[in-house]
Amino acid sequence: MRKKLLRFLWSAPLALLFAAGPASAQTTGSVIGVITDASTGKPVAGALVVATSSNLQGEQTAVTDGSGSYRISQLPPGQYKLAVQLEGYKPAERSDITIRLDKTIRANLAVVPEAVQMEEQVVKTGIAPVINVGSAETGTVISKEFVANVPVGRDFQSTAVVTPGAQADTYGISFNGATSPENSYILDGQNVTDPAYGVLGSNILTNFVEEVDVKSGSFMPEYGRTTAGIINVVTKSGSNEFHGSVFGNITPGFLSPASKQVARNGEAIGSETAFNHGGYIADFGAEIGGPIAKDKLWFYVGFAPVLNRQVTRRFYQAAQEDPNNKGSALLDPTTGQAVTKEIAGTSKYYNDDNTGYQLTSKLTYLFNENHSFTAAFYRAPSNRSYLLYPNATESAGWAAYKENPNDLIGRYTGKFLDKHLVLEAQGGWHHQTTESDPKSYTVNGTAIDQKTTSEVIWQRTHDLQQFFTGISSDCNVTADGFHPCTVSQFRTGGFGFLETLKLDRYSGKLSATYLMELLGHHAWKAGIDVERSSYDHDKTYSGGAIVRERTTALTKSGTYRFQDYRQFAVASPDGSAIDTLGGTYALHVTSITNSRAYYIQDSWSILDTLTLNAGVRFETQDMYKQGSDLTNFNIGDSVGPRIQAIWDFTGQGRGKVSANWGRFYEALPLDMGDRSFGGETQVRDYRNCTGIINPNGDLTQVAGSPRLCPVMVGSASPFGVTYASYSTPVVPVAPDLKAQYVDMFGGGIEYEILPDFSVGVTYEGRRLGRVVEDMSTNDGVNFFIANPAESKPFLVNAAGDKVVTSCPTNDCTKVDPSGGYSTDSVTGRTYFAKEPAPERKYDGITLELKKNFSNHWLGQASYTYSSFRGNYPGLFRTENAQLDPNILSEYDLPSLLPNKNGPMPGDRPHQIKLYGAYVWDLSKRLNVTTGAAFSARSGTPINVLGAHPDYGNSEAFILPRGSGGRTPFNTQLDVLGSIDYVIAQPYTLKFTVSVFNLLNQQETLNVDQNYTFDTVQPIVGGQCASRSGASSKDPVAGVQADCPDMKYLTTTDGRPVTPNKNYGRPAIAPAPTYGYAPPAFQVPLQVRLGVALTF
C-alpha cells in the first residue's frame, strides 16, 4: 500500500500540465485538475481547492465535483499556491504553480487520508509545465523572467520576435509570412491596433509588463480581426504589499563601433549611420504598486521618459576619374563601385531625436471573491524630428511629427451559479493622434516654407552644383566631360505630404463562460465584441503638389518635362481645367467603421487524453464617410469556424499530437475609408520647362521652378488632356464584397523528454483565401473595391462613383473585376488584362526545444524551415513601404500585374533562434545572471524592379519576383550579464549589461531593388539561370548575365533602359511614413547599461 501510494505521489507532479485554454480570458489564466485520494487513486468530491498568490486579491476557491474535478479561473498571471482541504484528509498544498496569460494549466493533486500513516504528508510541489496539452494554438509566452534574463528589446512588441516563425518587417513583427499590420495588438484586453493602418497603436516598456502572450496562429473564436498573429499583453497590477522599482537604461553611442557606410555608387552625397557620434537610446522611470485597501483595492502606476537619438552623418564626395579611361569613373576593383573622395568641410551630423514619455496606471477593485473591476489608463506622447531623406535639401528631407496614443480601459468580471458561470464585460477607448510638424529651413540663402513649397523629385542624374551653391571645385566637370559629383532621385523644395490624424476606437466586449458536464467536461464560452472606430484626417501636399521630373525629361525639342504627380484636386470633365482651391487643396475627412463580432466556442475534454476545441466566430463590418448618406460597404457574412484536436499520446501529460484548422477574417482598417470614400481625387499634369531649372522649387519667388513651368495643354500632353483625373471622390464597391481571410492549419508533436524540458515539431500552413483591394482595369484612372478573381461584374453610374442596379439613361459602365481592356503602352495595342487570383502560401516546420525557468536556468531553441510563395504581400508593400491596407497598388495597374508570383518578401527558408539564461546564486544576497540570444536566418528575396509612369518607382516586376537572388545569410549574438544584490530586504539593486551584436556582424540586410527608374513593362516569365545575379560584384551586369532577356529591356517609349547603378547594392530600405527605416546593414554592436532598485 505504501509503495503504491508513493509511486502515485511521484507521478502526480507529472500530471501538472496545460490544458484547454478557451475557458480562460485574455487578461488572466486558469487552473484545472482532479483531486484524488492518494490511498486509492479515486477522485474525491467536495474538496475545497484554494488558490493564492501575491498577484491575486484575496483568494479564489473551487469545490471538486463528483469526478473530483475543479476549475479556478480569472487568475492573474503569476506564481500560485494551491491548497486542498477536505474533512478526513490531511491538508495538502503545492506551490510554484505558474499561471500563464490566457492559458489553463492542469494541476492534479492527491490528498492523504488522515488514517493513513506515511512519510508523505503533503503532495510534492510540482514543476512548471512546458507542454500545452489542452490547445493546438501556436506561439510563445514571454515571461518577466525571460525578459529580465535574456537580451531582448525594451518594449513588448520587440520581444515578440523570439517566437518561432516571427521576424521583423517594415512595420513591426510578422508571423508565418503575414505582414505585421495584419496582427492584432491587445493591451489589458483592449484592442490597441491602429484603427487606420493596422500597426501597433500603443507600445510600452517591458518594465510595466506582467506578461506577453504571443499567439502566432490557430487561436480560438474569442480572438479575431486578424489574419496573422496576436500580441496579447497584460500590464502589472498592484498587490497587498508595496512593490516597485526605480530604473534606468541607456545605450550610449560612444560604446558602439562605427557603422558600415552605405556607399551609393558614384553619388555625390554620402551618408552613414553614426550612432557612435552622440547617439543614445535611454529610458528611466519608476513604478509602484500596492494596496489602497488590502485585498480590496490595489493600484499600480508607472512613469518613464523615453529618449532616442540616432545620428546620421552626411557629406559630399567626388568620384575620381579613371586616368586610363578619361571621362569615366575610376572603379574599385574589389567592390566594383566608383572610387570617391570626401570633400573636406562638407561633413555634417544630423540628430534624429525622438523623445516622449510613457504613463501607465491601473486600479483593481475586488467586490468579493466573485466580482472584481479593473480600470487602466495609458499614455505615451512623443515628438520626433529627423533627416528622412539624406539625398535631399534639408527642407525636403527633414521630417518631424508628433504622436500621442492613449488608452482607457474598464473591465468587470463576475462569477455566478456556484462559479459555473463567468461573465466578463469590458469597455474602452483607444485614442491616438499624429501630426506632421515640419520645420522651416534655408537652402542656398533662401528661406523655404515647407508648407507652401512644393516638393520636387529629380528623377534623373544631375550635378550636385545644380542644387547647391558654393560647391567645391572638386566637383567641376572635367575637360573630358567627366562629372565627379552627380546625384539622382534628389529631392528639393518643401516636405511634400502633410497631415494631421486623429484616431478613436470605442470598444465593448461581453462574454459568458459556462462549465458543464456532458459526455465529458465542457467549457462553453460565448460573447459579443463591438468596436466603433473613426479616422479624422487633414491632409495636403506642401505647395499644392509633388512635382516629379520625368526620366525622359529632356525632350527632342530641348525642353525639360515634369509632372505634377501628386496633387489633390478636381479636374473638369473634359480635362481642360483644374480646381486646386488656390493651389492648396487640403482635404478634411472623417471616416467611420463599425465592427461587430459574435462567437461561441467549446472546449470538450472527451477523454482524459483527448480534447476537442471547436467554435465559430461571426463578424460584420461597415464603413462610411461621416455625414454621407452612403454606407460604402456592409459585410455581414464573415463566418470563421475553428477546430482543434489534441491527443496526449503518453496518457501522462508528457506529450501531445495536435491538429488545427481555422478561418480568420481581417477587419479592414480605416485607411480605405479615408482614401477611397473620403473624396480624395488626384489630378496629374505635365509641365514643359525651358532654360535653367532652379531646384529650390519655391512657388513664391523662384523663377524657373518646375512648379511654375507651363502645363502642357490638351492633346499635346502625354495624358492626352491637360489635366488627367485619377480616381473618383467615392470609389464604388462591388455589391458582393466579402471580407479578406486567411486559413490557418497545422499540427504538431511535442514530447517532454526531461522534466520541464520539451522537444517538439510543429507544422504551420497559411493560405490567403480572399483579398479586398482597390482595383483598376484602366491602369489606375478609375478604381473600384472588390475581391480580385471573385467579385461579379456590376454597374456604376456615369460619374463612376456609385453602384447602380439599373441604367435607364444608358450612360453607366459595367465593371468587371475579373479583368478589363487595357492598352499596351509599347505598341498601343488594346488587350484584355485578366486580374489574377491572389495567392499567398506559407508552409513552415519548426523544431523547438523549450526549458522553462527552473533549477536556475531557462532556454528556448528553435529551427524553422519554411517556404513562402505568392503574388500578394498583405497590407503593405515592402518594395516601397506603401502602407495602404486593402488599397495597395497591387491591383491598380493591369500592365504591371504579371511577374508578381514568387518568393515573398518575408521568405526566409532557414531561421534559427537560441535563447538561454543561467542564474548563479553566489550568496543569499548576491546572484549573477548570464544570458544569451543567438539568431541566424536566411536572407530575403531580391527583386528586379522598374518604374511606372504615374505610380513611380518600384512598381514593375521586370522579372518574376525574387529573380535577383537573395540577401546574405546573417547571424547575431547578444549577451547579457547582471548582478542582483540585496541591500536589505526588500531592497535589491540590479546592474545589467547587455551587449547586442557582440561579434559586430554588419552583414547586408537590405539592397536597392530598383533595377531602373525608367518606366518599363514586365518581361513576363523571364527566366534567370541561377537567380543570384544581384549578388555579383556588379549586380547590374550580374543580372544581365544571369537573366539574358534583360539585355533587350526597353522603356515603354522604346529606349534602352538606364540601369540604376546602385541596383543590388546595400541600401536603407524604403522608410515607413512614421517609424524607422530597416537598415542596410545589421546594427553594429551596442551596449545597454541598466540599473534598477526594486522593492
Binding site: G828, Q1017, I1019, Y1048
Partner: protein, 225 residues
C-alpha cells in the same frame, strides 16, 4: 530518457508522417515555361492607330478599340495582313497606310533575343537593330522582289503586359542624319508586299518558323487629301 518506449514509437511514427507531409507541401520556384512558342499577333502602327491581325479572338476585338484588318494568323508562325488605306476608311486620319511602318510581331513567350537580333543595345526607335542570321525580309513591288533585310531594323522587345514578347520591325529602316542620329522611320512603299521569314527560338531551344506577309496600301501620301 524515454521511459515509455511505446509512446516514443508513436512519436517517431507521427514525426515521420509529419515530415513527409511537409516535404510534399513545399513549393519550389515556378518552373520555367517549356511550351513551344506560337505566333499571336502581327501589328502595324504609326503610333496613333494600330492595324493588326491576331490568332486570339479575345485578345483584341472591335469593342476594344483595335483596328483588326482582314488576314489570318496561324499560331504555327504564318500570318498575312493587308494594310488598309486609312484615308479611304476614315477620311480624317492624319496619316495613311504607308505610315504603318512599325511592326510588332507578338509571340506567346519570351524568346532567345539572339535568335531575333544580333544587336542588344539598339532596341530603340532612335537606332536600328540588325536582324539575326536566318531572318530575311523581302519586299515585292510589281512582281520584283528585293531583299531589304540589311536596310530593315529587327529588334527584340521582351516586354508585353499580357505575356509573350515582340519582334519590333522597321521594314524600311530608319532615316538618320549625317551624325547617325535618328530622324524618322522610313515609310512603306505603296502597294509593296513584304515577306518576313526566319526561325526564332525560345530559351529552351524550341523553334518557331515565321512566315509573315504584309501588304501596304496603294496610298503614298503622308496626309489624307
Amino acid at each position: 530518457m524515454f521511459s515509455n518506449s511505446r509512446s516514443f514509437r508513436r512519436l517517431a511514427l507521427l514525426g515521420a508522417l509529419g515530415l513527409a507531409g511537409l516535404t510534399t507541401a513545399c513549393d519550389p520556384y515556378v518552373a520555367a515555361d517549356t511550351s513551344k512558342p506560337t505566333l499571336l499577333t502581327v501589328l502595324a502602327t504609326d503610333t496613333t492607330h494600330p492595324e493588326m491581325v491576331t490568332s486570339v479572338a479575345a485578345n483584341a476585338g472591335a469593342a476594344a478599340g483595335n483596328n483588326i484588318v482582314q488576314g489570318t494568323v496561324d499560331p504555327k508562325g504564318t500570318a498575312s495582313m493587308t494594310l488598309e488605306d486609312y484615308c479611304t476608311k476614315s477620311g480624317s486620319a492624319a496619316t495613311s497606310g504607308d505610315g504603318l511602318n512599325t511592326w510588332y510581331i507578338q509571340v506567346s513567350k519570351v524568346l532567345d533575343g539572339a535568335s531575333v537580333t544580333s544587336d542588344v543595345t539598339g532596341a530603340s526607335a532612335a537606332t536600328t537593330c540588325k536582324a539575326a542570321s536566318g531572318i530575311k525580309l523581302t519586299r515585292t513591288v510589281a512582281g520584283v522582289a528585293t531583299d531589304v533585310t540589311s536596310a530593315a531594323s529587327v529588334c527584340f522587345v521582351p516586354t508585353s503586359p499580357d505575356g509573350g514578347s515582340y519582334l519590333l520591325v522597321y521594314p524600311e529602316g530608319v532615316l538618320v542624319d549625317a551624325t547617325g542620329a535618328f530622324v524618322s522611320i522610313n515609310p512603306l512603299l505603296p502597294s509593296a508586299t513584304y515577306l518576313f521569314t526566319g526561325t526564332v527560338k525560345d530559351h529552351n531551344n524550341n523553334s518557331l518558323p515565321l512566315n509573315i506577309t504584309v501588304t501596304a496600301p496603294a496610298v503614298s501620301t503622308a496626309v489624307c487629301p
